[in-house]
Symmetry: C2
């Protein structure tokens, strides 16, 4: 990508106000209703009178739900609108997707119930006792593993993001909310075994250059993985965020290739074959390639490039008042750690450096935040990620200049949001 | 606690074998069935024949579950036994508890559906639009906050454990599984606002030495928090693992006091009053105090001391064969980071240093692992945590020597597991 280098001068041109300055714009406090007394709330405190001392809300007057009403818990009924964002435009058994509602979430961990899903033959219901992984091809000892065998290997746990390569597809305008645009993205703590260790156990031969991975879904999704990645940080994972994988994420066994495009992280993994050449499967020829301006399809893209998006405020949300507004979002890079995120509140003319929430982890989502005073005027806000390789997230115009009009996947362009004078936030590209 | 200093000499006496040595005990491979051919599995491969190439398992022969069957996902039906471990011995509306099944989990993040719960008046169903937080007492500007007000403050996200102070209670024998013993323990990524910042906004007065926090449950659970903690890393949190708090964890607002005993992290938070003296509420006098040998009740314990437990293998589990067995578990300290975890496989005579999974975070669970060769003979295994202050997790005998027989809470003793010649694992204290 021919993105221009980071403009440190611009980033420094408009230094962020201190947190205290930001909160105290003019004379108004940030939020809350000031009350005069200590014991009670004045009836004039707008909307606040009924549920503060000495008034007792209804839910304190009788015992609540008993223990055990939810042996496996679920969210509050008041959060029932926070679910996966499911496209009904896609053919159910060919190319279905459910997006994470990233505009509603905080932090970097995606709860398992909202992890994005993407499949081509539905979600198989696999009995883990019956599931097998076969490892064959260019190995000294072809092997068949039960899940018990896999779990007996030394384990490791790592927090990594997963992102679909069509997130969003390379067209515009494309979607109203952050989830519509970039919701094929989630992040979890994965536990499993180093693939390198399993390959060593089977005696991988030096002539093996690729592993062909096959899933046990009805589509038998198949991808070829370069052996360098298999011998680096690749894992066979069986748990996400502590518990076993969800069916939609490959229960009982998934290939995890940190930083690689989502569909290479083969779910319901049943077969690994060590070979000298890639398989040129459907998902690496007909799909998941990008037609470049010279007419050649770019294949085997592998790593997802650095990217970021502001999730609050974002499309579909509304600023209630002018004054203090924290701008926050997520950034990530398949190539390693996020080094910096810049935010612009003037349509890309000037940029300010956002704070990154620690710990900043490799190939994981990174939460960024910037304090801002909204003056009540229309504005366009956007973020750009810079990763540890120095790569800078491009604008869509920059992408277009390199890729042309016919690309379809791997769109990591900057996403601008427009805020109108009423505080309504919309996709500035739409 | 009068625990003896860490015995580095012991830890070094029996160096861990290399990973490769560990896996290759004698001539046998770690796991899996070796197969002779490439394309197919021999029918003699025990139990493995039906689901490996060229045989196609049933779940590949028809499309799986369609997209959208679970807008908010749930675990595989094959994991239906992995639920909260709910005590039916406790009075439902006085002291109910549901434990995290830590023996079934990996990594450090607890999925929200399995986060432990503990309440005294049931779980209230609170409408977040109606919920209010009142901040009053020794502040210049008493305030009432809506949830919208709270969410407008600058946010922060941190991964921290929460642990009940009676985990387990100070009696023995006590429980069969890791969850029975130490399941009132979970860890999540929390998002919210710095309490210090909110107190600054209200103008906290210098004479304020405590905050009295009150929950909006039917028990109106009330605890007094020292002002030093409130001005340090305390938070008002509204999200756990990305999504909004679960009802059982205080939806829509909870006080989070990293490292402090669980019940001080007041759920359903509705009131904070700045005062000069603690309230001496029920939960800090009649409950959550420890009667010491001199007849004086130790009150206001605050920080949970360093602790660890082996979760695999642990009580109720069974080793199938002798040979390689990874010992893994979790360690934590209310005082900061875990510096080291030692593991003994000979009843506490010798100790080996376990590997800690990075990142090691302050006041968060830390996953530890040690490769081990089980020789098929009876053994007693146990772990001990050392935190960054140098504190060493004590044995129960050491606790007893300091605390006597009448203590009830704050039991952070080493937990030994017995493995018999059949591989069955049981509580060595029972």
């Amino acid at each position: 990508m021919a993105a221009k280098p980071t403009e440190l001068g611009d980033a420094e041109a408009k230094p962020a106000l201190s947190r205290r300055q930001m909160l105290r714009d003019g004379s108004a406090l940030l939020g809350g209703v000031a009350i005069s007394g200590v014991a009670g709330a004045p009836a004039s405190a707008e909307g606040a009178a009924s549920n503060v001392p000495p008034n007792i809300p209804e839910w304190m007057k009788a015992p609540g739900d008993p223990m055990g009403s939810q042996p496996y818990g679920t969210p509050s009924p008041f959060e029932k609108g926070v679910v996966k964002n499911i496209s009904n435009k896609l053919p159910q058994y060919i190319s279905a997707s459910g997006r994470t509602p990233i505009g509603d979430l905080d932090g970097i961990i995606t709860p398992n119930g909202l992890f994005y899903e993407r499949h081509h033959g539905g979600v198989p219901t696999i009995d883990p006792e019956q599931h097998r992984l076969m490892l064959h091809g260019l190995v000294d000892r072809p092997m068949i593993f039960t899940m018990e065998d896999i779990r007996r290997f030394p384990s490791q746990s790592r927090i990594h993001f997963l992102e679909c390569s069509g997130n969003p597809v390379y067209t515009k305008p494309y979607g109203k909310t952050a989830s519509d645009l970039v919701g094929l993205l989630s992040c979890a703590e994965w536990t499993g075994v180093s693939l390198k260790l399993v390959l060593e156990e089977a005696g991988l031969r030096p002539e093996a250059k690729w592993l062909v991975a096959e899933g046990a879904d009805a589509a038998a999704l198949t991808r070829s993985i370069p052996i360098e990645k298999c011998l680096d940080d690749a894992m066979l994972v069986y748990s996400q965020n502590g518990e076993r994988l969800r069916p939609q994420q490959g229960y009982p066994l998934r290939l995890l290739l940190p930083g690689f495009e989502g569909n290479m992280n083969v779910k319901w993994l049943r077969r690994l074959k060590a070979v000298t050449e890639p398989a040129y499967s459907r998902e690496e020829t007909s799909k998941y390639t990008d037609l470049m301006p010279d007419g050649v399809a770019r294949e085997f893209t592998f790593y997802m490039e650095a990217k970021s998006i502001i999730t609050r405020p974002s499309g579909g949300q509304k600023l209630k008042d002018k004054g203090f507004c924290e701008i926050t979002g997520i950034a990530w890079s398949g190539h390693g750690k996020v080094r910096r995120v810049d935010v612009s509140v003037d349509g890309g003319k000037n940029w300010q450096e956002a704070a990154l929430q620690d710990p900043v982890l490799t190939r994981a989502l990174t939460r960024f935040r910037l304090p801002w005073q909204w003056d009540g005027q229309p504005a366009v806000i956007q973020s750009r990620a810079i990763d540890e390789t120095g790569y800078v997230q491009p604008t869509f115009a920059e992408l277009l200049a390199v890729r042309g009009e016919n690309s379809f996947y791997h769109n990591n362009a900057i996403q601008p949001w427009r805020i109108d004078a009423h505080g309504q936030v919309t996709n500035a590209n739409a």
